[in-house]
């Protein structure tokens, strides 16, 4: 990475060099067009996009052609005398009817693609996609009730965002837990949100659906080849709207089954872990990690918060008040804070509450065990 001023200097040079390089190199530095994607829908959309684009180019060539000819030929400095015509019914009819015909020609394939996009029937797999401030939750719906769910969070380290470390290739487009889907299967996404409106977008799948609290909307895809496909939230959803990417791994069915079984095993493990008792030191250090990953973005790493927007943890009435209220706030959220009860495991919840009550000068001295969290959630 060059410094700001150097990048600026080499910019024109860049453009010239890039023009001489093969198209592929150019395209990564100066991407120009919409992706064709990897699904039939995304290819149809790309086709419509190019079709309407070329219509626009054709109309532009005619209109601007006449205009530039006029600007060149009919100027006073060339000694021309102005004409005086100001009406021509035939001409006006022609340029009303021709655009209508072009629009009809465009509307037919557009309608076909729209029908295709709306055909969400007969899915092989259903995934419930829930938008949260600022992460996605994916729940694989299972006929036998053995649903698997997990959260998918940005994995780009803060050091890259704050420019203290070089940015990786998939900067801001990488997550800790990607969504896995099998190739050549119709996957239906049931899209909703838990707080504000988000929008789930993967350009290469040609799928974009707004995630709206109170609604479950459908979208679908059938990916034809294995690969990793990246997208982002596309509806302003607050502070970290730019930091909640989508990553989809499309894999062969066998690999998908293995992955899903691994997830199920892990879920059983977490249920077991909730029964154990941890030492204060264990809770505190695990809590610190959980805090850094989930809480520090708003309440800041030093627990001081942001006045008027995000309350401080240090000395807060919740973190220094009754344990039950503290667990309640973290599990259920409130006053603009999202709920974490679903997103974090009982161990993580117990750890982070313990940490908050004993860090930043909050010397409460108490410790919360995973079983306390489990009991709280059951008692609700």
């Amino acid at each position: 990475m060059l410094g700001k001023s150097k990048r600026l200097l080499v910019l024109p040079l860049h453009a010239i060099m890039a023009a001489c390089l093969p198209i592929a190199a150019w395209a990564t530095e100066w991407p120009l067009n919409m992706t064709e994607g990897v699904t039939s829908v995304s290819r149809e959309i790309h086709g419509l996009h190019m079709q309407i684009f070329w219509w626009c180019v054709a109309i532009g060539v005619v209109v601007f052609g006449v205009m530039f000819y006029t600007i060149f030929a009919h100027r006073k400095s060339r000694g021309v005398k102005p004409a005086h015509f100001h009406e021509n019914v035939t001409l006006e009819l022609i340029w009303t009817i021709i655009p209508i015909l072009i629009l009809v020609v465009m509307a037919v394939p557009a309608t076909k693609t729209l029908v295709h996009i709306y055909d969400t029937d007969d899915a092989d797999l259903d995934i419930l996609v829930t938008g949260y401030q600022w992460k996605w939750k994916y729940e694989y719906l299972d006929e036998n009730g053995e649903n698997i769910s997990f959260f998918s969070l940005l994995s780009t380290p803060a050091s890259q965002i704050q420019n203290t470390e070089e940015k990786s290739e998939h900067y801001l487009l990488e997550v800790d837990e990607p969504m896995y889907i099998p190739v050549n299967k119709k996957v239906r996404f049931l899209v909703t949100a838990a707080d504000v409106i988000h929008s789930w977008w993967v350009p290469q799948l040609g799928v974009k659906r707004d995630a709206i609290p109170g609604y479950i909307h459908e979208a679908w895809t059938r990916v034809e080849q294995p690969g990793i496909f990246r997208g982002q939230c596309t509806e302003l959803c607050g502070k970290d709207h730019g930091f909640m990417p989508v990553v989809v791994h499309a894999v062969e069915q066998a690999e998908f089954d293995t992955w899903l079984e691994g997830k199920r095993a892990k879920a059983r493990e977490i249920a077991e872990a909730a029964k154990q008792t941890l030492s204060f030191q264990e809770l505190y250090s695990r809590g610190e990690a959980v805090y850094t990953k989930n809480c520090a973005a708003c309440h800041l790493p030093d627990g001081k918060g942001v006045a008027g927007a995000f309350p401080a943890i240090a000395g807060s009435p919740i973190a220094t008040g009754p344990v039950r209220d503290h667990i309640n706030r973290v599990v259920n959220g409130g006053v603009g804070m999202p709920p974490f009860g679903e997103q974090l495991t009982p161990v993580e919840l117990a750890a982070v509450v313990t940490y908050q009550r004993n860090a930043f000068g909050n010397n409460m001295g108490d410790q919360i065990q995973p079983i306390d969290v489990v009991n709280f959630k059951q008692g609700q």
Partner: protein, 516 residues
């Protein structure tokens, strides 16, 4: 009868003169243009490179929100009302606006509205940060406390716009000189008449939607809260029922401006006057039936999606008629290229490009890829900046000699044009590419894939900003020491406003002119 203006501050506070009020509207909007421009440059400075350098994400969101609100409600709309105040009475041969005291009130509440809106930047929790479209529940349950001040400011702006619109309709329908039939009115007057009806129809809808927000926030209702039986999508329907006509409110008067300027410098009458009037009316009527094309990805039923797609595509027809008429007006004219004409020609070309991307966005399936990306940002800036802003700039150059009796410097004017033209295209053209490549809008940071286009955009935006500082200098220089203007000012100019002396006397047409 003929008396001059009062002196000192009271002249401006108490004035009921349409020229004084027009001048105040124009200077106010120019100030807001710079304020909104500063917000835009903060955005572009942050986006110069990947990574967070200058502002925090929350402040970045405040900037995108305030930039949009200030430019739409503070810069573009008051500028057109200012032009209407100055020009409509002079174009129809009226001595003043029909309701001069209300005219004073509708201007003087605006500075308070914007002072209140700007003050939210210094409040605890910060300014509104939910985008100028303020979608609920981000703008209700999850909003900073300053949202209440934002709502009050929007109410005042809306009241001002409605009063301005009533005044313009009353003036045009009642105060035309004898013989000035409706179909003889200059197109600027026609487009403003239609715009005023749009304003009266939709500003109350905006007032309604912000009032529902106010109720949700403070009085326990759940209009937009799913948990209370409300509907976040309802917000979007109501907002865009206002919002789509609103974009035509910002462009129809611009059509009127270039329809005045192009015939003047082509020395040839406007081609297809009556089809221009009908096209403007068609666009206005269609604008009420296309709002949900802003919501193609919210999950409307298929038939809704399809109807809004077809209705939106239909708007291309009357809009195309307008562009063809302007080009045909130039055809076989005897053109010269003074600054107002340069801005008007750029308007036709660049607004058409914005129209093309609009046509692309109308294709609902393709919108699944375009929606809420930089492609949309490129689209609406191509219709608003070379559309509204360039036409306002052209109007200022065109009528400034009539307002202050002095000419601007033509060389400086042309320099301003080329700087603005290059700056604009450098800023907004690359956004088509970054959007198609997959960059969402309203994000403070992005993958390095989009870095080159963003850097170009940022460089362009600072060039465009610098060009506007030159504009301010050109205007001040013209007012202070410009060459004396003739009464007709432009060789090819026709219309009542050119029959009065330059500068226009404080009172004009106290005896109505005869129009044949």
């Amino acid at each position: 009868m003929a008396h001059g203006p009062a002196h000192g501050l009271t002249r401006w506070l108490y004035t009921t003169n349409h020229k004084d009020i027009g001048t105040m509207y124009l200077w106010f909007s120019f100030a807001m243009f710079f304020l909104g421009g500063i917000f835009a440059l903060i955005i572009r400075a942050e986006l110069f490179e990947p990574g967070l350098q200058i502002v925090e994400p929350n402040f970045f969101n405040q900037m995108t929100t305030m930039h949009g609100l200030v430019m739409v409600f503070g810069a573009v709309m008051p500028a057109f009302v200012g032009l209407a105040n100055w020009m409509v009475p002079m174009m129809i041969g009226a001595p003043d606006m029909a309701l001069p005291r209300m005219n004073n009130l509708s201007f003087w509440i605006l500075p308070f509205a914007f002072a209140m809106l700007a003050s939210t930047l210094f409040m605890e929790g910060g300014a509104p940060n939910f985008g100028w479209t303020f979608y609920a529940p981000l703008s209700t349950t999850y909003a900073p406390a300053s949202v209440t001040f934002f709502i009050f400011a929007v109410h005042i702006m809306g009241a001002s716009s409605i009063m301005g619109a009533i005044n313009i309709i009353a003036t045009i329908l009642n105060m035309r000189a004898p013989g000035m039939t409706l179909m003889k009115m200059p197109l600027f007057v026609w487009t403003w008449l239609i715009t005023a009806y749009l304003l009266i129809a939709v500003m109350p809808v905006l007032a309604g939607v912000v009032t529902m927000m106010l109720m949700d926030i403070h009085f326990g209702t759940s209009f937009f809260d799913a948990a209370g039986g409300g509907d976040p999508v309802l917000f979007q329907h109501v907002f865009w029922f206002f919002g789509h006509p609103e974009v035509y409110i910002m462009i129809l008067p611009a059509f009127g401006v270039v329809s005045a300027i192009i015939p003047t410098f082509a020395r040839k009458p406007l081609f297809g006057y009556s089809s221009m009037v009908y096209a403007t009316a068609s666009i206005a009527i269609l604008s009420f039936m296309v709002w949900a094309h802003h919501m193609f990805t919210v999950g409307m039923p298929f038939i809704g999606e399809w109807v809004f797609m077809i209705a939106t595509m239909a708007i291309a027809v009357p809009t195309g008629v307008k562009v063809f008429n302007w080009v045909t007006t130039m055809y076989k004219g005897a053109m010269t290229f003074e600054t107002p004409m340069l801005f008007s020609i750029a308007f036709v070309i660049l607004f058409t490009i914005g129209g093309f991307s609009g046509l692309m966005l109308a294709i609902a399936p393709a919108d699944f890829q375009y929606h809420d990306t930089y492609f949309v940002v490129a689209h609406f800036h191509y219709v608003l900046v070379p559309g509204a802003i360039f036409s306002i700039t052209a109007a200022v150059y065109y009528w400034l000699p009539k307002w202050c009796g002095r000419m601007y410097d033509e060389t400086l004017g042309k320099t301003h044009f080329w700087l603005a033209f290059i700056g604009l295209n450098l800023t907004f053209f690359p956004m088509h590419f970054s959007g198609l490549a997959g960059m969402p809008r309203r994000i403070p940071d992005y993958n390095p894939l989009f870095a080159n286009w963003n850097m170009l955009s940022s460089i362009g935006s600072f060039l465009f900003g610098a060009a506007q500082v030159l504009f301010l200098y050109i205007i001040i220089r013209a007012i202070v020491s410009g060459r004396k203007a003739t009464d007709q000012v432009w060789e090819g100019a026709h219309g009542l406003e050119w029959t009065v002396p330059s500068p226009a006397p404080y009172h004009t047409f106290t005896t109505p002119p005869k129009v044949d």
